[in-house]
Symmetry: C2
Subunit: 470 residues, 2 copies
């Protein structure tokens, strides 16, 4: 993105703060309006979590943070903004009033997204000066990590504006799910609602506690859904007989007795208290801040594991990460890698495991390879470099959340040989954390044996080695 | 476990096969009864998947596989078995007939578990010779990976037998959730049912396709549920105000219009076909076998990432893994590590990333440390060894699913110094895959500086180095 983008966040709190963090950490300027006197503190806390978490998702450094500012009026906040996100309380009269204030000042081609889970876009658009500008963009907590945004428009919506909104959401690592027709509660919350209702019954009738229900979910279908959702999971369960067969078999179950339990249990004070007490027993030994960190660590670790598999939300991460990958610049040494140490790279000693140093140097070498023309396409065409020997010196400890840089010199580059001397430094103060002398040989991925590189790669390797001799 | 354990699997298929794999790969002998002529092939396929997947979950080798046999009669299958798992079709008359056959032969203290999702244990026990012996042990597909087992008994059940069943399930890496009162569909399937009903409506009304619903789940609440389930997630969402406040706020939503959509849509042939067609569009480019492999790879990678975090199903894995960790034996070299290369360790070149060699050698060194007394407790008390320098030679490629062994000699051990020479070999043929010369220094975890080891550790290191000189 060449133009500097600006987001206006109307209404802070956990959701507004999550949006702010998502835009800010992707390089946007962010302006915030929230009359709550605690708004700065609350948003500061969400931002603290996000700054710790989000950069750990990627194997490249994120863009430089945008500028954050707090404003006293809606008008000042939204003027000239590209994206305006409304996350005010779920009351239609309040929302309509806010839209009127926004639209009296904002650009006609700005996007006005609402975080509402309770209202349909046609309800939001009622009485607006430019109804087509307002759409539902419903996020999921934590907004700075989870990619899903339910995007809902109406017949009044400008298709070009919806497309533009999709593009912008994608550019900050989100996944806009375009909902085909508006419906109460959009899609995901309808499922949450159905499950919540059932959970209330189970607790009320003494069948299970909050912790037992959580375990029933996360040790079974929860982790299954995290990667395939509902239908693909059932497709696999159906086996060779196919999806139609599975549904025909499964259908009659819907008439079984338990499906009759569909009325809403009365949410008495007693039931609410029972749930609260059970939840205290389960999780009361951790503060909300600790639970948030635990949740974020789990989510990042799982999403990174799916990223390596190239599936589900990990596929989205890989797509977004392509936009973060910089082109290597000439230099002696070259700045071959910039990244943050993720939460899943530490070991029992509380620091980055020594194996991960090897991974970082291997990633740095991959960037050098790309620079000399041995890039992804080259590898896809069956040629690559394999590492034959490394000597690594571990000079200082490295911790999760730290930004690091690798500087690389090519110390040998002739024929099949490619030798790199890497230095990994802490970005903050330049301290050298580790060095690696890495010796590689060019191979054919077909024969898995050494062979000469393509002539243009050989020439670039030789030139780089010569430049780095100086 | 000292005694060799035996499981009898009555009814093969995906679920019975999954049980068979779970027991077999944990070292039990497994006998199978299934009159289906295709049973051997079908169970062979499940076993193939399980043999590929399950060992990758752990950082230690699993026990040696038990013996697998197929039998022609229920009597022959269950005689002398410790665990009898019934996974026959969901018809009560069939199940009763099978229990009568089983109980005429099996030991009185054997456990008879049923995989049923549709029947309550009191229904299963009706008319049985020893009703207290029969319990629901309801698993989740794939049974060889997912830990959840819903265990349900009745007042007739022998509490000691339920405890024994819990213990045995835990010993093969499963998580028995003891359901407090019997109820139709137990716990998890009630949630699945509620979600399924809602999904049918969304498809029928043209709100979303199967793929859009899967995305709404896995890019949002699905991955959240995989680690915290329902209630802990909401506890975090409720923030500082607490769980009671959250429920009081959330409660009224249950009266909102969308919660009225609770009747069951008629599952016409047309609707079934619509779902099947959408599912073909979404996933039809992959065979069921490919989808299974993809699912298993995702699940293993996510569970391994939770294992590293020590949370959710990863916490269970860590507990189970303790039983797999062998005591190191004297030797020159010592066999310091045996493990399978997991699916999340490979890179763009299609083989194990060089960083993971470093991790394996680091893990091997940890075992040597434990052998000389610098074990987990020692580290918890603030002393450890940090690696200062490694020289690694990569001699052959290593792939996901391969079993490897590390053999280690201590080449220097005096004062603060500990130096190991590791060789990593392919278990199958003993080929050397890599070597690592690893130099470590003893440190205080408090000052993060070098210091002398505890005297008994120093003495053991010195003795080991001397023994390995010979």
């Amino acid at each position: 993105m060449t133009k500097k983008m600006t987001a206006a966040i109307i209404g802070g709190g956990v959701i507004g703060g999550g949006w702010a963090a998502r835009f800010l950490l992707n390089g946007w300027d962010v302006r915030i309006f929230d009359p709550d006197l605690q708004a700065q503190r609350k948003i500061g806390e969400v931002l603290g979590n996000a700054r710790h978490a989000l950069p750990m998702l990627y194997d490249y450094a994120m863009p430089e943070e945008g500028a954050l500012s707090f404003h006293d009026t809606v008008a000042e906040t939204v003027e000239g903004a590209d994206w305006i996100q409304e996350s005010v309380p779920e009351r239609l009269d309040i929302k309509h009033k806010v839209y009127a204030e926004i639209q009296s000042v904002c650009a006609e081609d700005a996007i006005i997204g609402s975080s509402t889970s309770g209202y349909k876009p046609s309800e939001l658009q009622q009485g607006a000066a430019r109804p087509g500008q307002i759409m539902v963009c419903h996020p999921f907590n934590p907004v700075y990590i989870l990619p899903l945004i339910e995007m809902v428009g109406t017949e009044m919506s400008d298709p070009a504006l919806l497309d533009r909104a999709s593009e912008l959401l994608t550019s900050v690592g989100l996944y806009p799910l375009r909902v085909r027709k508006e419906i109460d509660a959009h899609i995901a919350d309808r499922f949450l609602e159905a499950v919540w209702r059932e959970a209330l019954w189970l607790i009320k009738d003494g069948i299970a506690t909050t912790e037992e229900i959580d375990n029933a979910i996360r040790y079974g279908f929860g982790i299954r859904w995290a990667q395939m959702g509902l239908f693909e999971t059932y497709r696999v369960a159906g086996g060779e007989a196919g999806m139609k067969h599975f549904i025909d078999q499964f259908g009659p179950c819907l008439q079984w007795p338990w499906t009759k339990l569909m009325d809403v249990p009365e949410l008495t004070d007693e039931l609410a208290q029972m749930i609260a007490d059970q939840s205290d027993d389960q999780s009361g030994h951790l503060t909300i801040r600790q639970l948030e960190r635990k949740r974020d660590g789990n989510l990042i670790a799982m999403m990174r594991s799916l990223k390596q598999q190239g599936n589900a939300s990990g596929r989205l991460l890989n797509e977004h990460e392509k936009t973060l990958r910089p082109e290597l610049q000439e230099g002696n040494p070259m700045l071959s890698l910039r990244r943050t140490i993720p939460v899943d790279w530490t070991d029992a000693n509380g620091h980055m495991n020594e194996g991960r140093y090897g991974q970082i140097f291997s990633d740095a070498a991959e960037e050098v390879m790309a620079f000399v023309g041995a890039d992804d396409d080259y590898v896809a065409n069956g040629l690559s470099y394999f590492t034959v020997e490394t000597t690594t010196k571990y000079l200082a400890e490295t911790h999760a959340g730290e930004a690091v840089e690798v500087h690389t010199r090519v110390t040998e580059g002739k024929g099949k040989k490619l030798r790199c001397m890497h230095e990994m430094r802490r970005a903050k103060d330049g301290e050298i954390l580790a060095t690696c002398d890495q010796f590689m040989l060019h191979v054919s991925l077909e024969t898995r044996r050494t062979c000469d590189p393509a002539p243009e790669v050989a020439a670039r390797v030789e030139a780089l080695a010569a430049a780095h001799q100086e």
